[in-house]
Amino acid sequence: MATLELAGLAKSFGALAVLHGVDLALADGEMVVIVGASGCGKSTLLRLVAGLEEPSAGSVVLDGRDVTRLDPAARDIAMVFQNYALYPHMSVFENMAYGLRIRRLGRADIRRRVDQAARMLGIEGLLDRKPRQLSGGQRQRVAMGRAIVREPKLFLFDEPLSNLDARLRVQMRAEIRRLQRRLGVTSLYVTHDQVEAMTLGDRLVVMHEGRPAQVASPLEVFSRPANTYVAGFIGAPAMNFLPARLADAGRAAVLKAGPVIAFADGPRAGRDGRALIIGIRPEDVTVLPEGAAQGLRLAVDLVEPLGSETLLHGRLPGGAAFTVQRAGMVRVGEEMTVGFSPASLHVFEAETGRRLEPVSLAPPARVESSAAMHGSR
């Protein structure tokens, strides 16, 4: 168990900068999930921490010790790989014992540790099998067992669930979380799956083009995305974005599609006419009765019934794409009027994509209220 600090960690392959300097600190026992689209540098970041790649700049400090130049084996880190990377010619027991044997642990000690880990993972009966005789889920467990027996200071997970089928993934996800809590080992987990990220992480790092776009708790990332990239990446179906301009001395926004919306939480800084992007999540949209004075006309062009909910895709006047999520199975016409509560809006600056907070309110006060609001929804 240990803390991990990354300072200005950067990596370039030749002229191509993959990682532009990442600062991150993990508390003892914390599980941080790095999430992002492919090519965002999340795997490179993990490999730098593991020591499988040399950083171009910056440092990795594990438990107060600078390990930046150390060999992977000398760092006291264990890693679970995407394709499990089990040694095909060794039995499950030998796979788990291999790292311990190299560290010259006693025979009895190795036996005890492997047995203990196997019991914890429910693979006691498989110790004599070869990896090819195991199912995907069992291999996954062995890969985790191999990490656990090492009793490392830090766990690294590189998309460990992406090779499993959907059902097993949900089951293993919960198991990893339970195990990590129980062992209390500081962990770094890389995934491209936002559901995994939301459920597993104490905190999320949303990576975008080699930089952390936001580092925060899952709920904060969801309820107060730091920019339009994070807002669009986290949450499914993705957030709707509407171009708008600041109006009424910063107290309201004029949508390009027509209506004027007064901000519920206070005015935004800037001159009237400043270009904005208004974000609204599909689940926050309500359908208004026909003929309502306020609201937006939506021309529906695609209906996706998912059973517990229905997704309506369409276009607003002006051509912006817009998605509405409604509970249950609904029948809809080709046109409808939709609206939303001003309290559920996300306001971003159009030029930079950055979130614009109301000027009068201190951000932390709002975190609590929005988290509570989200929880009760």
């Binding site: 593991a50 499988l52 060999d71 992977p72 084996a73 880190i77 264990a78 890693m79 790989f81 995407q82 394709n83 990377a85 089990l86 040694y87 095909p88 010619h89 291999y98 790292g99 190299i102 560290r103 990896p131 090819r132 191999r146």
Partner: protein, 279 residues
Amino acid sequence: MHRRIDWPAHLVLLLGVALFAFPVWLVFAGATQDAGAINRGDLSLIPDFSHLGIFLSVLLHGYGEAGGHPAWRMLMISAGMALSIAVGKIVISVLSAYAVVFFRFPFRMAAFWTIFITLMLPVEVRIIPTYAVMADFHMINSFAGLTVPLIASATATLLFRQVYLAIPDELVEAARMDGAGPIRFLFDMLIPVSAANMAALFVILFVYGWNQYLWPLLVATDPRLDTIVIGIVQLTFGGFTLTPWNTMMAMAVLAIVPPVVVVVAMQRWFVHGLAEVEK
């Protein structure tokens, strides 16, 4: 369920078997017959079972009157040479492929291509310079002279390179995180994982070594270093008034046995190994 016998297919198979087995049978049958009769062209396809003793006498005494060696000696030389070449080739090419695939060092690709180019230079092409080098090293008429020049192998290096390239990076990285250094990785991962390929290659290389003719003929003129292949040829051009065809054929039969044993024994093993291969 009753299966109808597919006669045409069986006929073709039987023909194939006959085509391959006939010469071997002919040699076996010929070995038991009188040399004079064979010289007259009266080679019977039915072996004379009362003369089966010729195999034992060739094995233990050779062609006595001409002063030839017993076949068991020549078989030992051949086996020693074939084994040394096969094992030597595998050891050298595993090491060179390991270096080329898993290590970054200056002129790595230059080294690889140099090895690759020697594919175009088999012993027959470089036989005179190779002989000169062996002569300078005083290795003419020695067992080392017989084997060393044949050991370097571009083919095997190339094969192992492909095998190692197919090993997933994550396996290498997992071993690194487990603390396996280069030597450990070689012995604990690479060699067990590529054991099936090594077995397959061993078979091919053993037969290659066993069948060597030109190089042993040139480098080892000392009769004590005669291989079985040389021994057979010497019976043909040995200055006999009557070529001892029956002795020669008996020796040929004996010469076939060891490679067949290796192929049969290893085949079971490497098919088993190949079936269990996993990425």
